[in-house]
């Protein structure tokens, strides 16, 4: 069994073991810590010289289906710089999510199902980011989605949870179906004899798909992946789902799983249909401004912390789209770095919000206030998380957003192109996020304390350790973005070497 097979199947086998009766929390935590160690091992032994969509490291492949008239199917895994960063993200968030899982104190009796689901989500996400076979890339993502639906429907907060579960199921199910049609169309148009992503990319380079068809394929992939990333105007599933999902599920979905859509755009849509991407650039820019500005204003109007965080995560996806729309090395690298940074910061925020919901019994702004005085550790940690989310220098988010803006504004001509106008518009998003985050911080942690509010004891180590792991990673990458950029740059470079010719 290769390293990556171990990485992907460890959580899945752990889920099976828990399902069959192994001690739930111990097995889940053990497996996720092992996953984190394996992902560190991969990062330390990663060569930054190799480039391109197809120069996989730690590669392994097993042929599973050879049939005349049907592309070859193999269980193939491999890492390049982009997927390595996302594997690190998944592993970090998985450990944190499993660790803080007891924060949902209502879920005692069914903890087995609960931990099985978390492990399946984690294993599915790791599989989706490391698979180099188109089918498994798609299938592992589906595997991760299904338990999220179940978790929201069974253990979600609030009266509306079944309705919310249906909404997210229908949205993401339709998104996946559109995506599947786009992918099948692309494989068919390339006349590929294999589902291998590297083979497909090479084919798209040597014999590009007809421009008109590329336009359709890109549109299908963009909308399909876009729905998964909560692209405006297909975002309405996201905030209620995150608000009502059990805390670790919200952390995993908003932090990790949602990044699959962006990953797919970078890994598949841009290389397979570059002409289509150019053709639809204007649409992409308008929609991403919708994400940043319109959803930004919606976020300001929220009255509950979990909803606000949900909308803020929708909003920040706009920057990632901007980096991808830039279509150059700086912009796309920035988008990848942003996926990492946003994943950690939103997981941290949802973790803290979940802890607060459990202790205070609710997250309405008007029922909370002045908490920082009695709970200083919580206040400090939340402050850090809020600053990270706003994109203050010193956090990974800052480095990523700067790269995205630089990439989007880059270019040799002097005039204002569409994307430059869009960048100017998107910059206002920074102000908007500062407004809602700082306002939320002020109402919850500063000011007078409502009389009815009871104060629980401060964050204990059980909640502190996992969240600190996320914070330390955010700060480390914030101060030294090159920790990850050394992996991302060559991979993105390779992507453009392959596609630009």
């Amino acid at each position: 069994m290769s390293t990556l097979e171990l990485l992907v199947f460890l959580p899945l086998l752990a889920a099976l073991a828990v399902g069959l009766g192994a001690p739930a929390r111990f097995t889940a935590l053990g497996a996720s810590v092992l996953v984190l160690l394996i992902s560190f091992y991969c990062a330390l032994n990663f060569s930054t010289v190799l480039e391109g969509n197809g120069s996989w490291q730690f590669a392994s492949s097993r042929t599973l289906l050879e049939m005349p008239g049907f592309p070859k199917l193999s269980l193939a895994f491999g890492l390049d710089g982009i997927s390595l960063v996302l594997v690190l993200l998944s592993a970090l968030v998985l450990v944190a999510a499993v660790w803080v899982a007891p924060v949902e104190s209502a879920i005692k009796g069914s903890s087995r199902l609960y931990y099985v689901s978390l492990l399946l989500i984690g294993g599915g996400a790791l599989g989706a980011f490391t698979a180099t076979d188109l089918f498994f890339l798609y299938a592992f993502h589906e595997l991760a989605l299904i338990p999220t639906f179940l978790m929201i429907g069974i253990f979600g907060h609030g009266e509306q949870r079944v309705r919310t579960a249906w909404t997210i199921t229908i949205f993401l199910g339709v998104g996946s179906l559109i995506l599947l049609v786009g992918l099948i169309l692309a494989v068919g148009a390339l006349d590929s004899t294999s589902f291998d992503v590297a083979t497909l990319t090479a084919l798209a380079k040597s014999t590009p798909i007809a421009a008109n068809l590329q336009g359709w394929i890109f549109l299908l992939l963009f909308i399909g992946f876009g729905i998964l990333v909560s692209l405006f105007p297909f975002h309405s599933w996201a905030a209620p789902a995150y608000a009502e999902a059990p805390t670790p599920v919200a952390m995993l979905h908003a932090g990790v799983l949602k990044k699959f859509g962006l990953y797919g755009l970078i890994r598949l849509a841009l290389p397979l249909a570059p002409a289509g991407a150019e053709k639809w650039l204007h649409l992409v820019l308008i929609l991403l401004l919708g994400n940043i500005l319109y959803i930004g204003l919606v976020t300001i109007a929220q009255k509950k912390l979990d909803r606000m965080l949900g909308y803020s995560s929708v909003m920040h996806m706009g920057y990632a789209f901007l980096g991808i729309a830039a279509g150059n090395v700086v912009g796309v690298s920035g988008a990848v770095l942003l996926m990492f940074a946003h994943g950690l910061s939103i997981a941290l925020l949802f973790g803290l919000a979940g802890w607060m919901r459990d202790r205070f019994g609710g997250l309405e702004f008007d029922k909370l206030g002045g908490i920082a005085k009695s709970l200083p550790k919580l206040g400090l940690l939340f402050g850090f998380a809020a600053f990270a989310s706003v994109g203050l220098p010193g956090f990974a988010n800052f480095a990523a957003e700067v790269e995205v803006f630089f990439g989007a504004f880059a270019g040799e001509d002097a005039g204002m192109s569409w994307i430059r106008w869009a960048t100017v518009g998107a910059l206002w998003g920074v102000v908007i996020s500062a407004v809602y985050m700082l306002r939320a911080y002020r109402t919850i942690f500063m000011g007078p304390k409502p009389e009815k509010l009871e104060t629980p004891s401060d964050l204990d180590w059980g909640a502190r350790v996992p969240l600190l792991i996320l914070l330390v990673a955010l700060l480390a990458v914030g101060f030294a973005p090159d920790l990850l950029n050394q992996f991302i740059r060559p991979a993105v470079n390779g992507l453009f070497l392959v596609t630009a010719q």
């Binding site: 599973l64 049939m67 008239g69 049907f70 595997l143 049609v181």
Partner: protein, 492 residues
């Protein structure tokens, strides 16, 4: 061993079961079913030892095709299906006993049970023969062997009005379809001058064939096969019969009868598709039939509240995907193309696994809860996490979610339609798959999201044999979803 020994062994097994039932004075007749399961298990293993003879001269081979991987695959399906139906029948025994008990004092408490276990074994022999049938007469006789056993089995619960009604409906419509089949055979014989499939194939491919008469024969045969397959608009019997028949027999009908229809359709339709004067019209008819079946089956399943009716419409929908593959046969026989036979066989293999898993859960539940309404499944995850999980795996596969066998079945069918440029079929297929997601998911939702009904919170125990069968089916579904090559390899 020569391949036809297997049918003899299966028939002998059925006779032995009847004899034991008549003379051995068994206290618990469920041992008969266990005997049958054991015997069929041995036959299944023997399938792998079949010789493939080089020379196939003689009278027998006129009626019986030389064993190729396709016919062996279908024989395997028949044996496996019957075996699992017997497992279900063991679970379902209390219901059969209650509905067939002999009220006379001193009668055996399980008086009517022996034949319930023995008849499926005879049907199995018919199904196995059909997989190799090579001659219109042997196709007809094997098909009738299966149908007549089914007429009895569907109406088996003789104190249950629903079962009797289902039996009468099935008998009348079945007899009608047999009429169409024989009439179609007669026309086919008239057009081609032969009853042997290879000769028919040759005659149809000749220029100057009487195309009108050949198409008439095709239409008659297609009506009869549409009845067996459950293709719209010949599906009207399906919901009522599925609902009324004893659950194991519903499963047998749903898988065995469909596999029989499919294998006969593959053998009878391919000569028409290979004939250049006919292929255009035949394809058009098949496309229309496939689109109708896909849409009717899946859309009619949406509002169903009774789980057996829901599965009945879903079974119609799955026939649509089978027809989709058949209608998309490549015009020229390319070496590098998927054949309808492979796709249909794979689809049926996957369909067997997931449908029988669903029916195993159904019959385990039927033994403890009287209702077959969807409400009976509310909160099942709390009463029996194992059964709920098994049903979710089966529903996921039926819906075609990736990493289950069902996904590849659908994907292959779609790929064939794309390669053949059948865009209408593709759109109908997408609508059908989308609708499928909804109604299969509905069952999962009511099992996991709602609490059990009042007074039905008790845990459910599953009998070990059934549980083992379920685990094996679940493993196979996921394994074929990861590595469809496992099944495809059996077919080449």
């Amino acid at each position: 061993m020569p391949v036809y020994y297997l049918e003899f062994i299966v028939v002998a097994l059925g006779l032995v079961m009847l004899m034991v039932d008549a003379f051995a004075k068994l206290e618990d007749k469920r041992s008969l079913a266990r005997l049958g399961i054991l015997g069929l298990g041995i036959v299944f293993l023997l399938l792998f030892t079949v010789e493939k003879p080089a020379a196939t001269e003689g009278v027998l081979w006129k009626f019986y095709a030389a064993p190729d991987s396709l016919s062996l695959f279908f024989k395997g399906l028949a044996v496996l299906c019957t075996l699992l139906v017997l497992v279900m029948a063991v679970e379902y025994t209390p219901v059969v006993v209650e509905q067939t008990a002999n009220p006379e004092p001193g009668a055996h408490s399980q008086a009517g049970l022996g034949e319930f276990f023995a008849l499926p074994v005879f049907a199995c022999a018919g199904l196995m023969w059909m997989a190799s049938a090579n001659h219109l007469v042997s196709i007809f006789v094997s098909l009738e062997t299966v149908s007549i056993t089914f007429y009895i089995l569907v109406a088996y619960l003789r104190r249950n009005v629903g079962s009797l009604e289902a039996g009468v409906k099935y008998l009348i419509l079945g007899a009608l379809s047999t009429g169409f089949l024989v009439y179609g055979f007669a026309w086919l014989f008239g057009v081609t001058g032969s009853m042997e499939l290879p000769a028919i194939s040759e005659a149809l491919a000749r220029e100057g064939i009487n195309a009108t008469a050949a198409l008439f024969a095709f239409a008659l045969i297609l009506i009869a096969l549409g009845f067996k397959l459950g293709a719209a608009p010949f599906h009207l019997w399906i919901p009522d019969v599925y609902q009324g028949a004893p659950t194991p027999i519903t499963a047998f009908l749903s898988v065995g009868s469909k596999a029989a229809g499919a294998v006969v359709a593959l053998r009878l339709i391919s000569p028409f598709l290979a004939s250049s004067p006919l292929v255009g019209k035949v394809t058009a008819i098949l496309v229309v039939l496939a689109i109708l079946t896909l849409l009717v089956g899946n859309l009619a399943a949406l509002p169903q509240r009774n789980i057996k009716r829901l599965l009945a419409y879903s079974s119609v929908g799955h026939s649509g995907f089978l027809l989709m593959a058949m209608a998309s046969a490549p015009r020229e026989s390319l070496a590098n193309a998927m054949t309808p036979a492979t796709v249909v066989a794979f689809y049926l293999g996957a369909y067997l696994l997931m449908t029988l898993l669903a029916f195993l859960v159904l019959s385990s539940l039927r033994a403890v809860t009287p209702g077959e309404d969807l409400d009976a499944y509310r909160g099942l995850s709390k009463r029996s996490p194992f059964l709920a999980f098994a049903l979710v795996v089966s529903m996921a596969s039926l819906a075609g979610i990736p990493l289950t066998a069902g996904f590849f079945g659908k994907l292959f069918a779609f790929k064939m339609a794309i390669d053949a440029g059948q865009w209408g079929l593709l759109v109908a297929g997408l609508i059908a798959a989308g609708a499928g997601f909804y109604y299969y998911l509905k069952i999962a939702v009511s099992m996991y999201f709602s609490a059990p009904a009042k007074g039905e919170e008790t845990a459910i125990r599953v009998n070990p044999l059934t549980a083992a069968a379920m685990v094996v089916l679940m493993i196979l579904i996921v394994a074929a979803g990861f590595a469809p090559g496992l099944i495809v390899r059996l077919l080449s």
